[in-house]
């Protein structure tokens, strides 16, 4: 079991309120991802759940039990830190055994779980090394191993992959997803990499300045962002926003068009512009178009390659059914 509820939780550091009253329920077995810009309170929220930070008011409820005043060691949660936070004076084996030793598990059971975890995480050959003798990826695996052996009711991850290089990150992302599919244990995962958020999450929680902007499945957030902030935050490259006359034609204050929902032509279309930079990725092409008469640069994403270069004239046409409309407050209008 691992159902986590936050009820009117607030957090202030001194006079600064980092989390205004917040309510959120994370269901048992769910993979929830917290995303948001730097400093928005993702880590703080995770640490409130862990108990590493005390709430200023409100309640943290785990499996229907009020855990607000319970110390982190008694909450039955496991955490994986960005810095790995392994015990440098202990071998990998001792690191992984540590939570089990603290829980008073018998030695045979400890050994059994260490062996299983080491096998699952490819650590069998490194069990007798100290963390200092491991690569970043191996250290992260040890940290995960240390978390899984104690069979927690939920896992908390705070940007666990951000210290790894790109290729390793993709590999570990898959491993964690597979781990979740296999174990079906609640996981809360903090990241500011929206690809991680989109690919891993059952549900994404988008935060801004400590406020939940939207909670939903990755595709809900993508197709029906509740406001301009979520629309701009989810999706890569970012959604294009257009205000003024063009928006008024659609009866909105601002309209949003995703780069991938725009047709490009060299001969005809709705808006005419000049190619600034064209990024050819092979599978996709990102074209940044200037001088469209709309505010700023308009980014287009097309599948495959297209022969446009810096300085070429192009015509853009948004897909009519993919235009997002927002009112003066930035809220979505149907």
């Amino acid at each position: 079991m691992g159902r986590i509820q936050l009820e009117n939780v607030t957090k202030s550091f001194g006079d600064v309120e980092v989390i205004p009253p917040l309510n959120l329920t994370i269901e048992d077995g769910e993979f929830a991802v917290f995303v948001g810009p730097s400093g928005c309170g993702k880590s703080t929220l995770l640490r409130l759940i862990a108990g590493l930070e005390e709430t200023s008011s409100g309640n943290v409820i785990i499996d229907d039990e009020d855990m607000t005043e319970v110390p982190p060691s008694k909450r039955g949660l496991a955490m994986v830190f960005q810095s790995y936070a392994l015990y440098p004076h202990m071998t990998v084996r001792k690191n992984i055994a540590f939570p089990m030793r603290m829980a008073g598990l018998d030695e045979d059971e400890q050994e059994k779980r260490i062996t299983a975890a080491a096998k699952a995480l490819n650590l069998t050959d490194y069990l007798d090394r100290k963390p200092g003798q491991l690569s970043g990826g191996q250290r992260q695996r040890v940290a995960i191993g240390r978390a899984i052996v104690r069979d927690p009711s939920a896992f908390l991850f705070d940007e666990p992959l951000s210290n790894l290089d790109a290729a390793l990150r993709v590999g570990m992302r898959l491993e964690i997803s597979e781990m979740h599919n296999r174990m079906q244990t609640t996981m809360i995962y903090v990241t500011h990499d929206q690809v991680e958020a989109m690919t891993m999450a059952d549900r994404i929680v988008v935060l801004q300045a400590g406020v939940i902007e939207q909670v939903g499945s990755p595709l809900e957030l993508y197709h029906e962002p509740r406001n301009k902030f979520v629309a701009g935050f989810i999706g890569s490259p970012k959604m294009n926003f257009i205000s003024g006359d063009e928006a008024a034609k659609h009866g909105a204050h601002t309209i949003g068009i995703r780069p991938e929902h725009t047709e490009v032509s060299t001969t005809e279309g709705l808006w005419k512009g000049v190619v600034g930079v064209a990024e050819h990725l092979g599978s996709d092409t990102f074209i940044h178009v200037h001088d469209t008469g709309l505010a700023g640069t308009f980014t287009v994403r097309i599948t495959g390659d297209i022969a446009v270069r810096h300085g070429d004239t192009v015509y853009l046409t948004p897909q009519a059914d993919q235009i997002h409309k927002f009112d003066t407050e930035g809220l979505r209008v149907a």
Binding site: L52, S73, M79, F81, A85, Y87, P99, R146
Partner: protein, 277 residues
């Protein structure tokens, strides 16, 4: 280029020479003390026996036979060991709390602790003596251990605090998540990680306790009298017993020098830990 090369050549010679001079300056009084301890009291003041004299062990034999050196030494060991243990038992949790759960006032608390060292001991001599006597603690091990602990606590906490500060907070927090309570954090994580720092702090504290003279001389007579008291007792105003005094002093600093020698590596490592990082 040429200038750089030359100046580095110069400093290659200059620094070792300077280091030797400073080293010898520091070492000379100790050398002189040890040398004098092998002279008779009469020879000790005669210029013609400055370096060439007939060495004698009389001073040392005299000391163990007539002055009960071993009792003083035992008292020094007891008071220094227990004071060091007590100081660490109080100091480690205190430094831990301030390093990992700081509040707005932590800096002030640290400053306040240090400020207690600014009070001249002489200013509290009378009240301390009076209190000690009226509580019936005069010339007891307990009182000496208490006094030695209290005068060393501020510096010990400061040192431990700086070592603990070097430990990433995440590691302590990982410990909390892994199910250890506060005592477990200290025992399982903090002490093993800060072992070098704790050992050098303990050693320094022990040396300070061993060499402490102001209070040990004034708050003891016989039962709890330490080696400092023994030295003090052999100090004659006329200066006639230099040989004897030197022997007592040599015998008093001997154990600590040997201890320091064995722990040298540990001590240097601990004391430069912060600087190297």
């Amino acid at each position: 280029m040429a200038i750089v090369a030359q100046s580095s050549k110069l400093s290659n010679v200059l620094w070792p020479v300077l280091a030797w001079i400073v080293g010898l300056l520091f070492f000379f009084p100790i050398f002189w003390m040890v040398l004098t301890s092998f002279k008779t009291d009469a020879d000790a003041v005669k210029p013609e026996y400055l370096l060439w004299f007939t060495p004698t062990l009389d001073n040392y034999l005299n000391m163990t036979e007539n002055y009960d050196y071993w009792r003083f030494a035992r008292n020094s060991v007891i008071t220094s060991v227990f004071a060091t243990i007590f100081t660490l038992v109080v100091g480690i949790p205190a430094a831990y709390a301030m390093a990992f759960n700081p509040t707005k006032r932590t800096k002030d608390v640290l400053m306040w602790m240090l400020s207690t060292k600014m009070l001249p001991a002489a200013a509290v001599l009378y009240p301390m003596t009076f209190l000690t006597k009226s509580l019936g603690l005069f010339d007891t091990h307990f009182m000496i251990i208490l006094v030695l602990s209290l005068i060393n606590l501020p510096i010990v906490i400061w040192m431990l605090f700086t070592y603990f500060k070097e430990i990433p907070k995440d590691i302590i927090e990982a410990g909390k998540m892994d199910g250890v309570d506060t005592l477990g954090e200290i025992k399982e994580i903090l002490i093993p990680l800060a072992w070098g720092g704790i050992a050098s702090t303990a050693l320094l504290c022990f040396i300070f306790c061993w060499n402490e003279a102001y209070w040990t001389v004034r708050l003891t007579t016989t039962d709890a009298a330490t080696l400092s008291k023994l030295i003090e007792g052999n100090r004659a105003p006329e200066g006639l017993f230099f040989g004897r005094l030197s022997a007592v002093s040599t015998a008093a600093v001997g154990p600590i020098v040997v201890l320091g020698w064995f722990c040298q590596k540990q001590l240097v490592q601990g004391l430069t830990f912060g600087a190297v990082k």
